[in-house]
């Protein structure tokens, strides 16, 4: 079986390169009076909005061979349901991977939203089910439920979603959700059930994932940790008599040579203000088990970007460059592809890749890196040049 590769949609603005911190593309450009301005260039009001830029990225990703993209949802981002609906008509293949916390939606409404989106896109909607801890505080979102209970709620949500999807009638009496004789109406009920990617590193997360997920989704971690994590998930699902696939979300910097790739990273690193580095050392990551696993990999002292090199081509400073996860892959096209192949050999069935700026890099990675990935068989995809 071949590997599915997704791209990412940057939902909270975008600098023009890894070196730059701002100005941000689109209307995230920070203006003088702390008001943000629109436009790609100088921040003048040009009548475009950020969705115009995101549309360009989605098209670039589908044209250069990605399945679609993950559309992250955090307190400071635009929302993936909205982005997906807006971009439904002007994309052809692009699959919309929507992260959302089940606790925020009535499952019957979520089912209708999803089925409508499937109808609007010809079946291109899928989920990244998340269960909190991704933001500073669940109560910012208006959610008072505690960490492990939230996974119970996620499980209930997916029970109901599945129960009503094909039309029901379905009744359920859970702690968080109840329905009585529920079911999606015809013709919405004829749509395909969305593929489910599932993230969360805690035990509670794995329990819920093993019941409902098609793909377990992890950030990149050191290879031995990834191997152990995938093994744990698979063991649980084997118990339930199910099969689960595994996937990795990772940022990359790929260039024609190693030297150019590291130059990009080191220039970006030099532009990080000292306060940010200090804060980075001090910060904690809330109640997310996954995020804390990543933070455990911080270097003790920081003198140069090299302190963040964990193993060949694996760099742990990505969250400093653009926020988000810490580990990423830096290197020549060949070496980045080789690292991806190592992850495939560890059991990875799908990737969500990203690089800044997402527009130009979608073409680069699609054209230069993906063709070099050998995949499960280990055989080169490249035809011999006569």
């Amino acid at each position: 079986m071949s590997i599915d590769v997704f791209w990412r949609i940057p939902t909270h603005g975008e600098p023009g390169s890894h070196r730059a911190r701002d100005p941000f593309r689109g209307d995230w450009f920070p203006g003088n009076d702390n008001k943000t301005l629109s436009g790609l260039g100088g921040g003048g009001d040009d009548g475009f909005t950020y969705i115009d830029y995101l549309a360009e990225i989605a098209r670039a990703a589908e044209i250069s061979g990605f399945q679609g993209g993950l559309i992250p949802s955090f307190p400071n981002t635009d929302e993936p349901w909205v982005i997906s609906a807006f971009l439904a008509r002007e994309t052809k293949n692009f699959r919309f991977m929507i992260p959302f916390q089940p606790g925020f939606l009535n499952p019957v409404v979520a089912a209708r939203m999803t089925a409508s989106l499937q109808r609007a896109t010809g079946g291109r909607a899928l989920y990244n089910v998340i269960t909190g801890g991704g933001g500073p505080s669940q109560l910012w979102w208006g959610d008072p439920v505690k960490h492990d209970d939230r996974y119970g709620r996620t499980t209930e949500f997916l029970d109901v979603l599945k129960g009503i999807w094909a039309g029901g009638p379905f009744s359920y009496n859970g702690q968080f959700y109840q329905v009585e004789d529920a079911g999606l109406p015809d013709p919405l009920s004829k749509e395909e059930y969305p593929e489910i990617y599932f993230s969360g590193s805690s035990d509670a997360a794995l329990a819920s994932a093993s019941k409902h997920a098609d793909y377990y989704l992890s950030w990149l971690e050191p290879l031995d940790l990834i191997k152990e994590k995938f093994a744990r998930v698979k063991e649980r699902t084997d118990h339930l008599g199910r099969k689960i696939k595994c996937s990795i979300r990772v940022d990359i910097v790929a260039r024609p040579t190693e030297e150019e790739a590291w130059r990009e990273v080191s220039r970006g690193f030099e532009n990080i203000p000292k306060e940010i580095l200090d804060r980075y050392i001090a910060q904690n990551a809330g109640d997310s088990v996954g995020a804390n696993r990543q933070r455990g990999l911080r270097p003790q002292t920081i003198n140069s970007y090299k302190d963040f090199i964990l193993s060949p081509n694996i760099w742990t400073g990505f969250s400093l460059l653009r926020g988000g996860q810490t580990l990423g892959i830096v290197g020549s096209y060949e070496n980045v592809a080789a690292r991806l192949d190592e992850l495939v050999q560890l059991g990875t069935d799908a990737f969500i890749l990203a690089s800044t700026p997402h527009l130009e890099e979608a073409y680069r990675v699609g054209e230069e890196v993906l063709p070099l990935v050998r995949g499960k068989s280990g055989a080169s995809n490249l035809r011999a040049v006569a």
Binding site: G13, D27, W28, P30, T36, T49, Y50, I51, P75, N76, D78, E79, W81, V82, I83, S84, A85, F86, L87, A88, R89, E90, G103, F104, L105, N106, P107, V108, V109, A110, R112, M113, A115, S116, L117, R119, A120, G122, S137, L139, W140, W141, G142, D143, P144, V160, Y177, Q178, V179, E180, D181, A182, G183, P185, P187, L188
Partner: protein, 354 residues
């Protein structure tokens, strides 16, 4: 201010005939029952979906001079926010008035989605919040177990929280249904337009809630006298509060009254609806309610229907949510033949182009 006209999008099926359950436009046909029989090859396969048709209706409303589209929430139909995003991308002017009830989930999450809508549409997103079904079992089918007595209180909190996080940082709230700590949006997500809030109902409690939160109060189709009374009652209760009134009413307008009556009769035959039809009346209660949700339809010549709409404007209605089956052709008809007459009648200075 000039009157605003909204055209309703058919979120749960539409076709040439009154009864759209058999064949929805844009829907892939059942391979076992090909529409063209065996005589003609059908090139469409799965190239289209019902959303392509909804999109056409939206463009029709835009071209025909409506100011907005109303996207009703029918539990048997498409989800209104997905429809709004889908049509929002390819329109520049139209307001997107979406209907939903407060059982949809977190008010913060709803507000956060609204922020993206407003950012991408320049503030064209609006909320018509309803109470959902009055039938307890229907509500339980839709995952809502909140008792009927609490429905208005939940709407009240939903709007309070949504407005709170949209306009204030940090926003704190502890209620019976929602709780927020240090909420609110920052950076480019902050200071976005609060969606215009539409609420309806005639009971004392409903009026009180509307007077507290609504920008627009929604009236169901009724006689001119009844509408005038409802508006007067509202003003009395909501002293001094500047609220606009929107009337949700269907229209079946034709060149002549005879044609309108003929088509009305045909529609009733096709839908199998039985209503006490009075040929001399302009307002037919229950006419297409099964299909559009509106409580009544105006039926008559272009002049008659336009005059009736103008008369509603005269008693204080400034927004109209109109619908007719099939929604595509009728958007052009009403936009071309009826709206210019209404504009002329309500604003004599507005001369029709010669």
């Amino acid at each position: 201010m000039a009157n605003q006209f909204y055209w309703q999008l058919p979120t749960s099926g539409d076709a040439r005939y009154g009864n759209a359950t058999k064949q929805r436009r844009g829907e892939a046909s059942d391979p076992h029952y090909p529409v063209f029989g065996n005589g003609i090859t059908d090139p469409r396969r799965n190239a289209f979906s019902y959303f392509d048709y909804i999109h056409q209706v939206t463009k029709a409303a835009d071209l025909a001079g409506f100011q907005g589209v109303f996207i009703p929430d029918n539990p048997d139909g498409e989800e209104p926010w997905i429809v709004a995003g889908y049509v929002g991308r390819s329109t520049q002017r139209l307001k997107l008035l979406t209907q939903f009830d407060a059982s949809r989930g977190s008010a913060v999450y709803a507000a956060k989605n609204a922020v993206s809508f407003q950012r991408y549409t320049g503030g064209r997103f609006a909320w018509h919040i309803t109470e959902g079904s009055s039938d307890e079992h229907t509500r339980k089918q839709l995952g809502d177990f909140v008792p009927k007595a609490d429905i208005l209180a939940r709407i009240d909190e939903f709007i309070t929280v949504a407005k709170g996080v949209l306009t204030t940082f940090p926003f704190n709230f502890v209620g019976r249904f929602f709780e927020v700590q240090d909420g609110g949006f920052q950076g480019p997500l902050s200071d976005r337009e609060v969606p215009s809030i539409y609420l309806g109902g005639n009971s004392a409690e409903q009026l009180e809630l509307s007077a507290k939160h609504a920008d627009v109060h929604v009236l169901d189709a009724a006689s001119h006298e009844a509408i005038a009374q409802q508006i007067a009652a509202y003003h009395k209760l909501a002293q001094g509060r500047a609220v606009a009134f929107s009337l949700r009413i269907d229209v079946l307008a034709r060149e002549t009254r005879e044609e309108a009556l003929e088509d009305a009769t045909r529609f009733l035959t096709q839908t199998g609806a039985t209503i006490p039809a009075d040929d001399s009346a302009l307002l037919w209660p229950g006419f297409a309610e099964q299909h559009t949700g509106a409580k009544a339809s105006l039926i008559g010549s272009y002049d008659e229907v336009a005059a009736a709409l103008a008369a509603y404007a005269h008693v204080g209605v400034t927004q109209f949510v109109l619908a007719a089956v099939p929604h595509f052709e009728e958007a052009y008809r009403v936009g071309t033949h009826v709206l210019p007459l209404v504009r002329q009648l309500t604003n004599p200075a507005h001369k029709q182009a010669a």
